[in-house]
Amino acid sequence: MDRSALRDAPWVVAAGIIVMFAAPLILNFYTLTLLVIYGMLALSLGLIWGFGGILCFGQAAFYGLGAYAYAISAANIGESTVPMLLAIAIPFVFAFLLGAMMFYGRLTDVYMGVITLVVTLIFFRFMNTTAGPEYQIGQARLGGYNGIPGYQTLNVPGDASAYIWDESLYYTCFVILLVVYVLVRLLLASPFGRIAVAIRENENRVELMGYDARLRKSVLFAIGGGIAGLAGALYASWAEIVTPGLFSLGQSAEIIIWCIVGGLGTLVGPVLGAAVLGYLKFALGQQTAVDNVLVMGLILVVVVLVLPRGVVPSLISAFRHSSRRREPGGRRRRGPRGVRADG
């Protein structure tokens, strides 16, 4: 365990708690909850892309899978604890298998991107065709493009009638996000995390050291899938309906944009990117003067041109730069780096 790598984690968590209580002063709980869920989704891609070097064009596949797994099992089981666990486990296993298929096949870079993209499209197309009554799992009809409505939403574990919604759903999601954040930080500080970063840096060298990079990448990819699945389940509980739109190309692209704008190589960056851009999309959706997609596209272009490493890493190095000037002789620490073109 590399303790020095965790030095700033308590501060981030403290700041997160302040934000958790401050944010409701500005926005309603309903919108905030969605932003927190987006943050968790971005965190999942920020982990595998920023630290594992795995560019996944189909993080939405795991998100949607988690949402559907939750909706289907909640419609059948009722009480939400088991559906919640299933919504993490199913995307986890699926991501592991998909990852193993890719990494043991030595697929890299853009080829991997295509596979993940294709998988998402398959889910999207398939879910759209399940309108007929023959597509039924237990009590749940898949419902095609209409999606699945009317299942048990999140409840206090053990008590199916104690729904967690609105205000309490917001706090629950936020606390879960903070817990996931801490767990991921611990993971990254552990030898497993260090080796994952080493694989991002130089997969050949890690293999020459005798580590099995393929297995480790599959596991990391699966963890990312599990977190995305958890975000999906929380989304399902928030929206009270799941539709194939969760698997759409637009959704996948949005996650990537959140990560790029927020900054790869950090965890806070993607989360903030998701929350800010998610809010912007919501705010722009309130008016009709400017097209929402146009503004989002513009933001992405500007950020990529002006701050190619993303907002948060640029801020961190700017901060370090200024603090180093104040204390001469301080050794320069390298800021978190973006993913190189080849990794």
């Binding site: 080829y111 295509v114 596979i115 294709v118 398959i122 398939f126 759209n128 065709t129």
Partner: protein, 201 residues
């Protein structure tokens, strides 16, 4: 990228009707015009003239891009930059400018494709996005050789997709295409031309 072509094609149409654009979107079904080229019969078969035209245009474009890449100095520089940007820069070519040019040509081709295809489909502003994923998948699955790779992957995917569409409907056809892409990339991790026709254009 075909969005550029879509946009230009859309403007005169909505303008002619003298209506705001959002109504075009809502009524696009009514507004279809017949394709500009009449059909003809060949033996016992009716052939749609415009579809035939598209096929001819595609073949011409493919041959033309092959000839440009193969035979001209510009094509040679572009291929060289693709193989090794540093080396091309060392020889005095600016990779940035080469990328700019190829991007320009690529966008122009995409625009042309949009324009050519427009009479066949119901146009909405977001129509181009339908093709992004497929174009991406086809190009990547083709591998490093531009023309041959594209030709082979497009043939494979087209065949698979149309066979399954014919057998059991368009959705299965599309899913079959996607599954074919996964299987193909799993077996040939560098795309089709990573193994076959290696080093050819």
């Amino acid at each position: 990228m075909s969005a550029a072509g879509v946009g230009t094609r859309l403007r005169p149409r909505s303008g002619r009707a003298g209506e705001p654009i959002f109504e075009v979107r809502e009524n696009w079904g009514d507004r279809r015009v017949s394709t500009p080229i009449a059909g003809f019969t060949l033996g016992g078969y009716q052939i749609n003239g415009y579809n035939f035209f598209i096929i001819i245009v595609s073949i011409l474009l493919l041959v033309a891009s092959y000839l440009v890449l193969r035979g001209t100095r510009l094509g040679l520089v572009a291929r060289g930059t693709m193989q090794s940007a540093d080396m091309a820069a060392a020889l005095g070519y600016s990779p940035d400018r080469v990328y700019m040019t190829t991007f320009f040509v690529g966008s122009a081709l995409a625009g042309l494709a949009g324009g050519v295809l427009a009479p066949l489909v119901g146009l909405v502003p977001t129509w181009g996005t339908l093709y992004i994923a497929k174009a991406f998948i086809t190009v990547i699955s083709g591998g490093a050789s531009i023309v041959l790779g594209l030709l082979s992957s497009a043939t494979v995917f087209g065949l698979v997709s149309q066979t399954f569409t014919f057998l059991s409907g368009p959705v299965i056809g599309e899913v079959a295409l996607l599954v074919a892409a996964i299987v193909l990339l799993r077996l040939l991790p560098q795309g089709i031309t990573g193994r076959f026709f290696k080093g050819r254009l």
